[in-house]
Amino acid sequence: MARLTVVAEERDGAGGGEANLRADGVTHVFETAGGPLMAVTDVSFTVEEGTFVGLVGPSGCGKSSLLQMMAGLLNPTEGRIVMGEEEIREPRPAEIGVVFQESSLLPWKSARENVEFPLYLRGVERSVREKKALEMLDLVGLGEFAERRPHELSGGMKQRVAIARGFCQDPSVLLMDEPFAALDEQTRMTLGDELLQIWERHKKTVVFVTHSLTEAVYLCDKVLVMSARPGRILKEIDIALPRPRTYDLMATETFGRLRAEIWELIRGGDRP
């Protein structure tokens, strides 16, 4: 697995709690035509470096808004997002990678060009970024499809490309907003497993928004459960399941209990 070593080598310098990601009393109010709209209110949590944290909650509760604030794409109306010691107020492409839904691949670029796009933006030399992008595509099993355009790829393949792009600059934090939402159950389970395998090797800090409670329990170390809008954190649930995760865990009582607990919280939180 020589290609993985290359990724690991470049990771130096990102140690010692530097990638702890913290929300401190974060509130966000959108100014809309119909007046102010409070998306999230007084949200606080910490994502420890190297952990895989899920964010679940009813539709419209502010998960994407929260993730965008962590990505520096949106600023809190009150409170702050802090990484290590520094407040995040604008994108930090070198340290924070973002994986959006499939529509974020640029359709006029090939898979490889999409993956190397973050490096291209930083002015990395062509041969270097091409090599890196090909490594990343190999990592997600798409080496042969490097020169295909998105419209020639399946939904699952596109999402793999988006993940490869997220990993391409080797950020210490990866923010993922329902990356598998548009996929069928089988594909999302497979991709979830692949993501876990990559993550086990690189131990990046991951924040993963999902609607699937099974996915949340299966992938995460900790799940943050949010209430309906304006979103608050109802509870942080530690997922004390052994790693590496395997499918038979899903049949265990613990898995079922954790999943049920999250569901109860979301259902209860939906009622005013």
């Binding site: 794409l73 930090r92 492409p93 291209y120 930083r122 998105p150 419209h151």
Partner: protein, 250 residues
């Protein structure tokens, strides 16, 4: 169907039409005094391409078309992008463009004659007028076609403002804009030829109108054929470019 297969089929259709046309005249189905046979029209069209007088008129028409296009293309695209990107201007002026776009532009021709006379300038102005609406509307569509998701992604990965224009806006909009340019060109040619046919002293439209009025049917059909071939050539080359840069649209 393969590219070569499609091309030979298309050539076959054109040849077939000419043969059917010839046959219709020879068998008396079509009156040769009104519809001359291609065996007379085609040689006449070729002879015209060697006739300095016809070439002079062709050149005037081409110059008007090209000047009108060079002036109106950046203007129309710029207005469209402004309306598409700025909420303020968009809300104020978009409805106006949609309304006027639906009015047949030909009815304005007398106004152009009063304002610009019957010469070169008037033809250029009328060609521009014909073309500008489709240019503006397709540039608005081009601006709308840039997905907010691309912009968000680019910002998250640290794109500068210049990179966002150059690497997101431009490639995303280009195929739609080129499509608009192609349609604008068709409207532009229509406008110039129509204005020439209505009143003028020069141009292909002027020749065609005169040949028609003096019942010189072979010349008339040859003139129509030249106008058709030239417009098709312009249209197809723009469409080829449009396809090439828009291959990603799938």
């Amino acid at each position: 169907m393969s590219g070569a297969g499609r091309l030979s089929a298309q050539i076959g259709i054109v040849v077939g039409i000419f043969l059917a046309w010839e046959a219709a005249v020879q068998t008396g189905v079509a009156n040769p005094r009104i519809v001359p046979p291609p065996s007379q029209v085609l040689p006449m069209a070729l002879a015209m391409l060697g006739d300095p007088e016809v070439l002079h008129h062709l050149w005037i028409t081409s110059a008007q078309v090209m000047l009108a296009f060079v002036l109106v293309a950046p203007l129309g695209v710029a207005i469209g992008l402004l309306l598409g990107e700025s909420d303020y201007f968009g809300r104020a002026f978009k409805p106006f463009f949609y309304f006027v776009a639906s009015v047949p532009k030909s009815v304005f021709l007398p106004v152009f004659i009063l304002a610009f006379g019957i010469g070169f300038t008037q033809k250029v102005a009328f060609g521009m007028f014909q073309a500008i609406f489709v240019l503006v509307i397709s540039a608005i569509a081009a601006a709308d076609s840039v997905s907010a998701d691309y912009l968000k992604m680019a910002r998250a990965y640290g794109a500068s403002r210049r990179q966002i224009y150059q690497d997101i806006y431009l490639p995303a909009m280009l195929p739609v804009i080129v499509e608009g340019l192609r349609l604008g060109m068709i409207f532009n040619i229509t406008g110039v030829l129509f204005a020439e046919m209505y009143v003028s002293r020069a141009g292909l439209g002027h020749l065609v109108a005169n040949w028609g009025m003096s019942f010189e049917m072979v010349k008339l059909f040859a003139g129509i054929l030249l106008a058709a071939v030239l417009s098709i050539a312009v249209n197809e080359s723009l469409r080829w470019y449009e396809k090439r840069i828009g291959a990603w649209r799938g």
